[in-house]
Symmetry: C2
Subunit: 357 residues, 2 copies
DNA sequence: TATTTTTATGTCAACGATTGCAGAAGTAGC
DNA sequence: GCTACTTCTGCAATCGTTGACATAAAAATA
């Protein structure tokens, strides 16, 4: 691996001049510049960014900390962030936390040691945010994506979750579904609470009482969707529609539908956050609150780099991006409101009947 | 951001001793070690890996170059690689090429400048592999994943594509499907050619002639699946089964089925490489040649780090991992071999009839 | 032509860690 | 008291760049 000194020797110039040619900051005569450039090509010289980083105290690397890239929502965020980053000469160092706060802490610490210029973080819940605070204090800005730690002034780009859930509930009600259940995410997560709030407000504004038997707390993982959907569908009184708080849980819910022979939307309608499969492949096609993942990543990265470069100096703020409700077959049973089955299919089974709503 | 010198001062020790405590290479008396450790905690000191990298000429970073994380096959590879990397103290720098060789070249160059210790590369086709050769010559090992550049001695971890396609074709034939079409990937890619070869060998060993009208070259993208499936289904003579060379194209194929009202597997059976959705959600459930993405990533990373640490010094070699054929509903029409419709549904339309096979 | 101004290039001390070495200080054995 | 260890300090050199400053050469001005 050649160095600037070797290039300088071969071009008959000084190291300073070579540096000037590379950086393009100081003008160099065309003749010398040409000699230097050809020496660079001949030697296949790649300037050592490590040395440069040490000197100028900037690495042009961004940390990207996600729960799990295997969840199809996150690759979108990654791409959005990466595209913006590459445009501005930054590279992404990525790592997955698997929703474990301890792993998150270790990763953030490793990124600090590597002196990344900033971190895009999808925080794993919990009130343990000391590592975040300290990282920011140490001079490494953090922008949270999709989720933000509660009770902390920090930059974040998030979905307008309340609105997403509320829009969806409105749509369900307008379509004649009045007994609507929700499978939430883990309620220590802000996102999960916001979606629940949107659901509640959607019901309230229609004058429907919120019934806590219809609120089931999941953990955003497939298995909890499966389990809770089974619980729900085996109840004496089935809801007429279910809103699921993320796409991965919905996969579990569909599995439960299948196993119990529940038809969707004829028996129970289904709406979900996240538009995993888009317009295809799922059967039935799912009504979804679509999150603009790419945009979240892109805006987060832009904000972060603007902070790094001092282009943004205002106080931390939360940017909300708008969800899109995509109505598809899973909420399109041909029901007139009158026929809406409040209590249908009294299959025997556990649990008490619902209070009429 | 504090330095080793500040820690030393606060602990009443020398910088060398602090370094020894951090590295753990030289023994330090318990009392001093404790003082140093508490100084580190007090100052929230994170040793500057950049400076260390410069000195020891190793960064503990691995480049991970993929076509597109948004294709659900790649996150699995990423996770496999990352899990192994983190265990051994390496971090991943990831970037997407979007299948553009120029972008791949720029990214590899940026990674070289950053002095990553090695690169995991899913190469975008084309014979332009000079950047790869030169990077390896410069001392940065590369392990190719899933695809390898043709005609080059290089480490690679890949699926046994021939076998995957062949197994699948065998299964189709045994199930009574004798007119089998294939939608291939771009044939300048080795993977695509291998899958095609497996298909051909599967037919040949059953004594079925390979018919080139049944071989359609796609580009591994959704749209080409859609387009080619439409072509195929509008032919005078439909095949009884289609083998699709990757999962993303299959999404397009399903779309085409839907639009044309073609039932699967009753009208045409479908088998695909990649098991995107697993056992759920798709309708019908798809017979798939499943690639162990996680394992490919994990083994690639292990091999790469072994090279970096000099634990492996043998000549470059290609590791083949075994595919798994998962048989599901999309190839389970209740056909007896006799009834197998070779030419069915003579819908008028373009193209000439197939030679009987 | 002499002098000033402008421009192009060379020189060298940092950046923060590692590593090796010379030597100081303390402990232990004889 | 002498020798042999052990543990630590202090110092210097090093990794490859950068960028302020010095200097030389060229151009402009008097």
């Amino acid at each position: 691996m050649s160095t600037i000194a070797e290039v300088a020797k071969r071009a008959g110039a000084s190291t300073g001049t070579v540096s000037n040619v590379i950086r393009g900051t100081v003008r160099v005569s065309p003749a010398l510049r040409a000699r230097v450039e050809s020496a660079i090509r001949d030697l296949d010289f790649h300037p050592n960014e490590i040395a440069r980083s040490l000197k100028v105290n900037q690495t042009y690397m961004l940390g990207m900390v996600l729960p799990d890239v295997t969840n199809p929502f996150f690759p979108l965020i990654m791409r959005g962030a990466e595209d913006r980053a590459l445009e501005r000469g930054f590279l992404l160092v990525t790592a997955n936390t698997d929703e474990q706060i301890e792993r998150e802490r270790r990763i953030v610490s490793a990124l600090r040691s590597r002196r990344v210029d900033g971190i895009l973080l999808t925080h794993t819940g919990g009130k343990d945010v000391d590592h975040i605070r300290r990282t920011i204090e140490s001079g490494i800005p953090i922008v949270c994506l999709d989720r933000a730690p509660v009770g902390m002034k920090i930059d974040a780009v998030m979905l307008d979750n309340v609105r997403g859930a509320q829009d969806c509930v409105r749509h369900l009600i307008r379509s004649g579904y009045l007994t609507i259940a929700i499978i939430t995410g883990p309620l220590q997560l802000g996102v999960a609470r916001e979606r629940l709030r949107g659901y509640e407000e959607g019901l309230r504004e229609a004058g429907i009482e919120v019934c806590k038997d219809l609120i089931l707390e999941g953990d955003f993982r497939e298995n909890s969707g499966y389990r809770l959907a089974k619980d729900l569908l085996l109840q004496f009184a089935r809801p007429s529609a279910i809103l699921v708080s993320n796409g991965v849980m919905t996969l579990g819910v569909l599995q439960a539908f299948e196993e119990l022979g529940v038809r969707c939307p004829e028996d129970v309608a289904l709406a979900t956050f996240d538009d995993l499969a888009g317009d295809r492949a799922f059967h039935p096609r799912l009504t979804a609150v679509s999150q603009p993942g790419y945009e979240i990543g892109a805006r987060g990265a832009t904000l972060l780099m603007d902070r790094i470069e001092g282009k943004v100096t205002k106080k931390p703020s939360v940017v909300r991006v708008a969800p899109t409700l995509i109505v598809r077959d899973s909420t399109r049973a041909q029901l007139s409101p009158e026929r809406t089955p409040l209590i249908r299919n009294s299959d025997s089974y556990q649990k008490k009947a619902l209070p009429s709503s």
